[in-house]
Symmetry: D3
Subunit: 282 residues, 6 copies
Amino acid sequence: MDQIAAPPATAVKPLLEAALAEDLGRAGDITSNATIPADHVSTGRISARESGRIAGLSLAVLAFSMVDGDVVAELHVADGSDVEAEDVLATVTGRTRSLLAAERTCLNLLGHLSGVATAVAEIVRRVEGTGSCIVDTRKTLPGMRALQKYAVRCGGGVNHRFGLDDAVLIKDNHIAAVGSLATAVKAARDHVGHMVKVEVEVDTLEQLDEALAAGVDAVLLDNMPPAMLVEAVDRIDGQCISEASGGVTRDTVRAIAETGVDLISMGWPTHSAPQLDIGFDL
Amino acid sequence: MDQIAAPPATAVKPLLEAALAEDLGRAGDITSNATIPADHVSTGRISARESGRIAGLSLAVLAFSMVDGDVVAELHVADGSDVEAEDVLATVTGRTRSLLAAERTCLNLLGHLSGVATAVAEIVRRVEGTGSCIVDTRKTLPGMRALQKYAVRCGGGVNHRFGLDDAVLIKDNHIAAVGSLATAVKAARDHVGHMVKVEVEVDTLEQLDEALAAGVDAVLLDNMPPAMLVEAVDRIDGQCISEASGGVTRDTVRAIAETGVDLISMGWPTHSAPQLDIGFDL
Amino acid sequence: MDQIAAPPATAVKPLLEAALAEDLGRAGDITSNATIPADHVSTGRISARESGRIAGLSLAVLAFSMVDGDVVAELHVADGSDVEAEDVLATVTGRTRSLLAAERTCLNLLGHLSGVATAVAEIVRRVEGTGSCIVDTRKTLPGMRALQKYAVRCGGGVNHRFGLDDAVLIKDNHIAAVGSLATAVKAARDHVGHMVKVEVEVDTLEQLDEALAAGVDAVLLDNMPPAMLVEAVDRIDGQCISEASGGVTRDTVRAIAETGVDLISMGWPTHSAPQLDIGFDL
Amino acid sequence: MDQIAAPPATAVKPLLEAALAEDLGRAGDITSNATIPADHVSTGRISARESGRIAGLSLAVLAFSMVDGDVVAELHVADGSDVEAEDVLATVTGRTRSLLAAERTCLNLLGHLSGVATAVAEIVRRVEGTGSCIVDTRKTLPGMRALQKYAVRCGGGVNHRFGLDDAVLIKDNHIAAVGSLATAVKAARDHVGHMVKVEVEVDTLEQLDEALAAGVDAVLLDNMPPAMLVEAVDRIDGQCISEASGGVTRDTVRAIAETGVDLISMGWPTHSAPQLDIGFDL
Amino acid sequence: MDQIAAPPATAVKPLLEAALAEDLGRAGDITSNATIPADHVSTGRISARESGRIAGLSLAVLAFSMVDGDVVAELHVADGSDVEAEDVLATVTGRTRSLLAAERTCLNLLGHLSGVATAVAEIVRRVEGTGSCIVDTRKTLPGMRALQKYAVRCGGGVNHRFGLDDAVLIKDNHIAAVGSLATAVKAARDHVGHMVKVEVEVDTLEQLDEALAAGVDAVLLDNMPPAMLVEAVDRIDGQCISEASGGVTRDTVRAIAETGVDLISMGWPTHSAPQLDIGFDL
Amino acid sequence: MDQIAAPPATAVKPLLEAALAEDLGRAGDITSNATIPADHVSTGRISARESGRIAGLSLAVLAFSMVDGDVVAELHVADGSDVEAEDVLATVTGRTRSLLAAERTCLNLLGHLSGVATAVAEIVRRVEGTGSCIVDTRKTLPGMRALQKYAVRCGGGVNHRFGLDDAVLIKDNHIAAVGSLATAVKAARDHVGHMVKVEVEVDTLEQLDEALAAGVDAVLLDNMPPAMLVEAVDRIDGQCISEASGGVTRDTVRAIAETGVDLISMGWPTHSAPQLDIGFDL
């Protein structure tokens, strides 16, 4: 799984700092401080409580060293691995107070990202053999976009643009403002650098023809039923990348993939996937 | 719904700043900048795409004024309200570029918090008439604890402690470290101020008796089946607050509530509730 | 003194960073840079110039390692210890420039927190044998609340609430707004979670009776003379915690303690205690 | 009092943000949120509870507008004014919840800075007519240096250097490192720009002669008894500025001033002055 | 000049805050505070001292309102305009102290960005009529990338990628690590999303052929003499975008443009362009 | 070169963090992540591509350890050294991905600061033997003042004031506001502490006489031709420091130095010096 590179740790630490701050508050873990001697040392095991795909393990365990630089973590699986219930993902050793202070922050991040990865992996399995890839969206949770997009990659999915600034996606409002799809594409090409791709959202086959004529890099086929997607893929015929989007569910994704579209985008894994249940035991 | 006070706006702005920064990136909304004139003005409507409970509306629309101080927002429903699909929640008026730049950040926050509130409200309805309250946990998403706990209140739930520092919750590790439940309770009372409550997690009725003898403010009855909960409530007999916890699902919550426990805590709404579908149209 | 847990180091570092920044400015210690060779190494001793109670030593010496990761500190006393003039509290070894750059920042924090602890310890001694505890208030210096409250604990005092959010304290304005003390207590109970205590400030014995009837967790007996406190303690009779507050001085504290109140709160140690004189010598 | 310019508001806001954050915590003012309607409006008066010198009023009231941009403050006295008990310093009008949320943060800052100013003013009065000025030190509270030095100016005192970087102060360690006072002064002159002054700390009259020969801008006469100071002032004879320092108390300051030194530096007002009692009433 | 959208103001403010902080320091503008009455009001004019292309005017004047919200700025030219010496670019009206406090921060930013824009504009004029565009690089000053890239656009240039994350640029080290250019291109395509372009740096015509065979979006023709560029453009024949790079100077740029390459990239304007001289007069 | 002390590393890290953040963006170095194995290790050499004066080497290489704490850097030259093309300045060893991720950030800072130092050194050589020193100004790039002023020192120059707060510089606006030069000087002396110097900008010999009569520490002789400077130096006759300023170029600087002024200030090196070309090779 060497290919899946995590976001820079420096980019993750502010989120972990915020998470630790909101859990430790002004006085820290008052229960452990009252009951556990300062020099008491333990080893804790992070383990899966159900089967799923892991994402964010090396980042989540940073919570321990951020609380106490002396805590040592050993990872037993790599991000992108599939695990079963009871599998031990990592062990952390250090002052017991430090382990308990960082435990929840670590698990909250790890359970969420692994939940996203597990959701994506499950959908990817459904389209296996079709040639379609599963793509994410900008429907992410505040402050977590780079992490959630990393979890999507761990799940076997592919990332759409990271923000409004790294690729052009022309929608109806933009077309309305300049008068025509072709004018919008030209305005975009004139405005952005040569390393920026241009995609257009189309609702009809007529719009698709316009987009192909304008020479776009990709088309987002919005809310088209499978039969229409088949026709769209036929017209596109490799001239650009095709992306199906809109109302895709786990139940409909296979049928859409079989239309031959290159990509199927879904917001569900990043805005609504349940966490993967992961626990911590001393 | 006057009772539900939102977290201080100053506490929410850093999260919105981070969310805006990750969406706008280094170059901003390059598509809109290329196609929509700088002085083009619009009114956008934020509306529900499905029925649910709203949370975070006044906070989420801050995204617009943070992008552009000239955008004016008008709210049509209060947090804590139930809405139906097509209901207009708010209208925002200002430069079209500014509206499109902040749209996704606003919706991502609003959809998530309303999803939490909707999930809690649905569970609260299931226990109606029993006297039990639904309580949240510390299983929240990184950086979002105060906001998610606010959403829980909007859903009709009650907040457990906000972090490790504002209340004592003694678990098995703490008891093991000092030798007995009674010693742990005494150590905690000696360590914390008079305004801090002490709760103990118990797995058995014998432990419950110990806790009651130690004079705790609350007991967390961990993973007890309904019959055992009935017996526990009977032994507690108003001496302290009773909280059922562990593996509670939407299917089992009613039966648990009928045992007479004061509180039922669930992590699911804050770590795994799906978003409420909310859209934005110019 | 194992019981006194310091605030998380991560919570203290921003304050030390601000303090170092305001002392080092844009150009650093220009005097030492001009006169002391970069590789010159020394050992410095931090020692008491007068007797008192130490607080914040392990946190204050972080200033040295924050300036220069190679500086090594050895602590000779624990927070909460009583020291005499000339006692060496810690030794720090490293580049002389680094020691001099961090010296004042370390001492300013240590002298202040030890001043608070010494003041509290002195008051605690005055009430010895009475059963009353000395409690702090929210009258703290900006940015230093968690640290000052830690110093109070080092002095043998007890912490009142840490902020407006972790406990309810109903005062006259709140009662006026809802119409009666009983209504205010009920409104608070309905609004907050089960782990939050409710205290009410009362000026008269009639109000005290109302508070007791409302079932509060604690009463703040405001500005009552000793005779009235005796009567109040009698009426309370263990139903809730009693706190005497208002205009308590070192001269009057013993008489108040002898009335039998559980707690006596004083703002003076955190807003006005003089520093403990602590010096640094190479 | 037009001369006393406050530090830039932008420099003060981070401190107020930290102070508000530590008071409002994660959930805000839960007592007021439970009992006071969101749209309830009041006017509060900030007034002196004892006589003293005011400092930081315009900065401290920023706490209200930072909590709620709609709160309006009206100031009745300027910083640097002397007030009597019961004098109203300012009135603030706005949502009652906002007033109560910011009250303590405002008062904690204002009471502290006015305490510093009052302490300095009292000392300045003691040396009236002597020609000596009272100067502060770097013995300030963490994060508050610029504010405390402003309070010193409001008290009629004069500021010594703001940090290690804006002026040279050569002490025994620096002299020891380079071998002689004269070499240290030359090293400093060579190292710093032409707009930086050089002061040397001297313990004896022989050292003073060396310093004068080296052509320094100022000498710090450390811990010299009055008779020795008279001799020192005589030898200096206007060649540079003279500063008496070390163990100066309110009792000894007049005698020192009468020796004819230009400046008398004292750390006490910034590290140990008690607050000025200032209250807030709705 | 409607097309040139500035970076989000929220992204610029931290840089201006840092710049104001380093100019105002701990005590602010002590000269103006000592000599200019607090309520003295002036109007200042920002004007060009030499001819050039303006960039960053609306952003740079934010410095004034950040110091003092009451300062009003009126802009007389738009970014991207050419101005002559003595042209007034903007007028700012407000407290004189505020104008002088922000003046240097405003001018330092404006002069630098306009210097970049002027440098780019001069180079763009040299290649006029050739069809080649001038492109920037990642050789920017720390903390100023988005601003400098905006200045490049104001100068008539085009932006290359904004960072290491928004486009792939395969160089010799990457090819060496995987074994061949083709393998590197495939690895990149597999790793990144569909909205990310892939460019390869080639030193020889053989490498160019490999790159074309691999189907890249753009080739960077590194340090090729004009004759070789002509041959390269011929081989590319519209299959992908061509970029000449390496050692391009103002003297050689025209000859390179005449080879028919699409883009010519130069680091000089962002790392070494002299400022445009812009002054401020009350 | 022991004398040249760099700014505190803690003060430099925020700038490097911002620079790394703008280069790594949300997804990091996607090209290296796709092509270079995570555990691939290399040694990179930082070497001069042209001759010049080095500044900021130890600070710039912090970029590597900030990306990856395991990277080890070895420095081969000290700041303030003159180097020739091909000289190796430093070697860094660690994960190849980490080296490539930090390379550009390191070089952008190092090339810029060394460009400033090289420019200053070249000017200093031109005035060799005259006794005049080259001084910088406040015309620096946003966020880089302390670093650029350090580069000036590495170039053999001297620093003028660091900001508006550490020295007084009275200009025409200040004189106009109070009525006369003498009044302005007196107002300044009354306002600032004893460790702050006062300089006045004068345009004429009459103003110079006024300034000398007022007893200033330095005069800034603004835009005076050499003959007038000779006369000015003659009148000053050692009473205070003399600084020539305004329109000084590399061509005119020698003639100005020969007038006998103490200091010649130039903004060019900090606002307009081209970078020194420095490269990085694995």
